[in-house]
Amino acid sequence: MASGGPLTPAVLHILLALSAQDRHGYGIMKQVEADSRGKVTMGPGTLYGSIRRMTDAGLISESDKKVDPSLDDERRVYYRITALGQQTLAAELQRYREVVAVARSLSPKTAGA
């Protein structure tokens, strides 16, 4: 996963959701939905499967910090992006930029330039 290959949409969106702040599972889901304008909807099966693989790969980790403890159940587990996760996200976004640049150079209309 962190080997430099393209990330799956779920992993990319989770990294994006955690890049701004630590979030719990449901918070990640809501943020992914908002970031993708409702186009990416993941259920608990996909979300926690991705979280397991991402924690095993060192892209994210459990966080002690509660964003707003007064509003949350104390048992909720928050996740944070790691330095490796940030590097991986930056590399993936750079890859996207390069793909868009190639698409623009080939056909400005299809790239939405």
């Binding site: 599972g25 259920g43 996909t46 499967g49």
Partner: protein
């Protein structure tokens, strides 16, 4: 809600222990937001797909680990057997010649002992792995 808890029991135990509670919490949050049979069906299918994925990963991992221990065991035993055969051959060839074979036999003997230790450790690890798998299977 009860059906979802039961569904989660189909996950491999380590996964369930790690994420089960969070998944139930997330399910409760989602249900509050999206009531209805469509949501229930979606969650069921989505979670079931997750169970199949995690089970497949689990089986793949344990099979790989079992194969590693088995390979180490057989390689170590083969090396040990070759060393013993070599030592015996050297001793037979040197018999009666008065030649000092300590320099050859001593490292070979050390390698034989290390091979036996590696084989024993791999066998013990393989046994532990098998017992753990049996326990997990029984625990469902």
């Amino acid at each position: 809600m009860r059906w979802y808890s039961r569904l989660l029991r189909l996950y491999p135990r380590p996964y369930r222990e790690r994420f089960g509670e969070s998944m139930e919490q997330t399910f409760r949050d989602l249900r509050r937001e999206r009531p209805g049979p469509g949501f229930t069906l979606w969650i069921f299918l989505e979670t079931f797909a997750g169970i199949v994925r995690e089970r497949a990963t689990d089986v793949g991992r344990s099979a790989m680990a079992r194969n590693v221990f088995k390979t180490v065991k057989y390689v170590a035993l083969a090396v040990g057997a070759l060393m013993v055969a070599g030592i015996v051959t050297v001793m037979l060839l040197a018999r009666g010649t008065g030649e000092d074979i300590t320099g050859v036999v001593a490292p070979a003997l050390l390698l034989t002992i290390l091979s036996v230790v590696a084989a024993v450790v791999a066998t013990v690890m393989q046994g532990r792995q098998n017992r753990r798998k049996t326990r997990d299977d029984l625990a469902g």
